[in-house]
Symmetry: D2
Amino acid sequence: MADKVKIGLLGGGRIGKLHGANIQNSIPEAEIVVLADPFMNADMEAWAKSLGIPKCTSDPQEVFDNPEVDAVFICSSTNTHADFIIKAANAGKHIFCEKPIHTEIAKIKEAISVVEEKGVKLQVGFVRRFDKSHKKVHDVVASGDLGKPYVVKVCSRDPEAPPMDYVKVSGGIFMDMMIHDFDMVRYLAGSDVTEVSAVGTCLVDPRFADYDDVDTAIVTLKFENGAIGVIDNCRQAPYGYDQRVEVHCEKGCVQDANVLQNEAMVSTGAGVSTAKPTWFFLERYNDAFIQEEKEFVSSILNDTPTSVGAKDGLEPVRMAFAAGKSLREGRPVKLSEVE
Amino acid sequence: MADKVKIGLLGGGRIGKLHGANIQNSIPEAEIVVLADPFMNADMEAWAKSLGIPKCTSDPQEVFDNPEVDAVFICSSTNTHADFIIKAANAGKHIFCEKPIHTEIAKIKEAISVVEEKGVKLQVGFVRRFDKSHKKVHDVVASGDLGKPYVVKVCSRDPEAPPMDYVKVSGGIFMDMMIHDFDMVRYLAGSDVTEVSAVGTCLVDPRFADYDDVDTAIVTLKFENGAIGVIDNCRQAPYGYDQRVEVHCEKGCVQDANVLQNEAMVSTGAGVSTAKPTWFFLERYNDAFIQEEKEFVSSILNDTPTSVGAKDGLEPVRMAFAAGKSLREGRPVKLSEVE
Amino acid sequence: MADKVKIGLLGGGRIGKLHGANIQNSIPEAEIVVLADPFMNADMEAWAKSLGIPKCTSDPQEVFDNPEVDAVFICSSTNTHADFIIKAANAGKHIFCEKPIHTEIAKIKEAISVVEEKGVKLQVGFVRRFDKSHKKVHDVVASGDLGKPYVVKVCSRDPEAPPMDYVKVSGGIFMDMMIHDFDMVRYLAGSDVTEVSAVGTCLVDPRFADYDDVDTAIVTLKFENGAIGVIDNCRQAPYGYDQRVEVHCEKGCVQDANVLQNEAMVSTGAGVSTAKPTWFFLERYNDAFIQEEKEFVSSILNDTPTSVGAKDGLEPVRMAFAAGKSLREGRPVKLSEVE
Amino acid sequence: MADKVKIGLLGGGRIGKLHGANIQNSIPEAEIVVLADPFMNADMEAWAKSLGIPKCTSDPQEVFDNPEVDAVFICSSTNTHADFIIKAANAGKHIFCEKPIHTEIAKIKEAISVVEEKGVKLQVGFVRRFDKSHKKVHDVVASGDLGKPYVVKVCSRDPEAPPMDYVKVSGGIFMDMMIHDFDMVRYLAGSDVTEVSAVGTCLVDPRFADYDDVDTAIVTLKFENGAIGVIDNCRQAPYGYDQRVEVHCEKGCVQDANVLQNEAMVSTGAGVSTAKPTWFFLERYNDAFIQEEKEFVSSILNDTPTSVGAKDGLEPVRMAFAAGKSLREGRPVKLSEVE
């Protein structure tokens, strides 16, 4: 490999553009050599050109066939992820894949087995692990300084509910939204989850129920290492993106607070006010995306394991299935029930 | 009634002394006219004298028979609460009773029915409702400014586990510790709970298991008004008494932070540090106890309803039974299953 | 001396009543045996009786002549403080005196010399030293853990300006308000001040100028130990009592934040808001007054030095004179210029 | 002008590289067409190439002569700033100039007069105005919601003292460090300063005195609009870059807190600890630099006034001279004394 990792970008939508701009502007050790998107058009080509991406195509196969490409970023629609992983692995390309790998467990396992057989690197896009504050919480727990983890808590609320057109195809709150938190609790606890129990309801918008979905949910968790945990999600928080994690341990507790839009504080006779949390993930996890990309590129250049691997791509999907089953059946569900 | 409420104090142990000193020192509208404790001794008499309590006895019946007594504070051992309520009500005395009224639901109901029949006032000692911060959270929710409540969360951790001699007779984590949080969620949500689901484990000390108890537990809740909630408890938090509540609503979220021992902050090359939370309930709820007593006295003087009434004494006990059943049976339990 | 310190209370106004109630309710090691006030009346007697103070008089001399009295609390008008100190010292009584001892330096020195000659204890009422947060800042500096102090900062703002009738006789902002901060900087720095330089202006209310006073002032300071410092005062802060101190040292910085009315926080689309600081000194320094009284009583019972002594009574008055001179003359003024 | 502002970058040192990388990576509306540095070498050329800067030269004159260049970024050594401004203005180029314009007031005035004569835009590099938190404080004051400003306070501490080789040529604490705060107080108060009074001392390192400099200083200020203010600076704060501003007004106070490295908090028996502030200006003002550049480019594209203009370049230098004079002469110095 040359001094730079040559990347083929699959998908020029919102998340593809985000990764693309970051790589071109902020990752000197990598460069995008080709962008493929079935909906390639003049606007997308202009965008690519403005960032110095030399080649555009509407055919993803051109990326897999391109001998110059060292690695791919899979930012296409979810249903293509697993197949693209398989094609990339078969072509010997390293793979960064946006979450989730697939919404069917068998398909995820198939993709993973090809990756393992071909020995390419796979990193799954759970970006929150690269947030400075969440990472610090993880690092404190992982250091062992606080002793054994007892209770792992994650609170995650979106600022506003997505449009119903999206809800319809989202896979539901557990697969679409809480999946990040399922990853986060495994990351924080340093342990897999063995059982989940969900409650959920439609309070934000009754139309969620039309799609057998809920907009507000709480899931309790049991971990292999003996800890217990809880995640609460809500699709609506008018004050902004609420993203807090906490691990209570034998010798103490480590938690984080939201990132605010600024650090100013106004005190008047009417009260004391501060800025709201950052509005949504593009603001909050802006730096985390760059860290995520840097670590993927670094794992290729230094031939080290990726920090979010195949199993990390699989387990949150299993947890999402188990949580959905728990909610429907009104009982705790073991992860072993989901295969 | 005269200008002061004349109180008979039943029980001169830790909590009795706390109420007694507060009433004598901080509640000018009330005075204790007699202290009864079966273990009356010279030390307790000296304590009473130092506070200007004119009469001591080892016979509780003297309190009920005393025509001067307007109201009683029941601070005796838990198993006597219900009977003392009944005796006080029959004697026409108003009643402040430490929690819980009893550990058997039938007995609680019996006591309540006598109270209602006799028309005396009853206030149950859920002191946390009178904490300035928790009360502010409640008041914001109750004002309706944030719209409907969606998610109610309470985190409560003791600084250190009680001695095993106490654990043995405590009634277990749900009856002894989480009962305060069961009251708190009803207070915050402004609604009764219909179903609970518990997970719990022994992580602090394996000896809790010897008494069929757990030391760390999480309970999810469904409320009559459609909200959902979660309580997490742990018997050990070496940084002090962790007491945080949060209500996420339609239009925003209201939550509180721990009270710290002081507001100083030290910044050095090694990091930034602040004081720890107050150590335990005597520190944290010091002012709340006085507010609690004032409101009880005020409800007598002004003939207004008490702020924590008979139903508030019953429901948390039912929730504790339901949570225990949920933990043992590994399934959600409806409150209607507990009678 | 008996097991309790017997106290004669001089002055039954606001601050006298505050000390009186605290001693009777919260200091078991002391009791007030007599209250003297030239304006003694039925209301004041009723107040005394309600607290168990057995004797009232309109003649202060009765206190000095009373052999039962071990110590006096001088809470009378400022112009009587020095004479009462002299009388009490001559009568062999220990002395707690509200600040300032006097507004003339010669008179303060005279009073101090009698105190020293008679060997009685003298504590001056700089209550802020006993605030938990300010004390923690002091303790960190005094421990030496942060190395040498470099910069000492105090910000002090009253919630609202006093009535003009009071301003007229207050002695001006430096003598009436900043005197607490002059004491505080000496306490925090562990060093005397050698020079001050003041700027000040009338922004809150132009009527302050009618009394040659300012309502907003900043004073820089040089300390004997080489540190420098600054105090800023304002007579009006509609959000409440602003009381913050900070010491920047060789190895780090220690500072404190205001005490808020509660710890609740509300987040909505309109912003994030918290409670305001406590409104004024009776709320903020409520506990500090009790600590102050306890330490005075303890210094008598254990025959230890008082924590705020004669020199601490003198220096802030000298600093107030120097600051006034600096403001009038538009130049830095050395403390040695004020005798 | 084309759709992009074409920029000539003067100076490829630390600050030049910072601006250069930002413009190439984060300002799509601008591009650097030439880099000039008298110390041009292979490394600097490689850096330029990696960012797509097409031309490098060791002769600044080539930039002024280049008809393609719309605007220059002057990032060369301080003594060249004024002359480069004059040359750029004469060549009809818009100018972004790092602070200070010059250390002689006459020279600054000369440069400004050419800029005004030629009608080009000038923005001076006071980057802190573009920090989100400081800007919010400014915006609240400027909105008038809090009424008239009374007291303006700025605290600014560097994490560690610069090397003595730098101190020697820095121009001293007022010209080199506090100059940012002199700009900030004008920005916050919305008013010019009329008088300053300084105290200062060598506490961090006695060698500052060898260069007639101090390492710790406090300056009080009087503003034209009647407000007063204070700045405190220290060359050493081992906990990181301390950058706090505060404006106390008629109806309330607005202030900001430091930006921390992350939002995690660890609570143990030993205390509660959080992250330290960001280490220095490259971290703290990273986003502010980009905002600063964006606003300069925008003022050219939209032909609007720059947000930090000629007078803003002059006044802080006058204040620095006045503060130095005040420190040397031990008296308040009017700005009118400095011409």
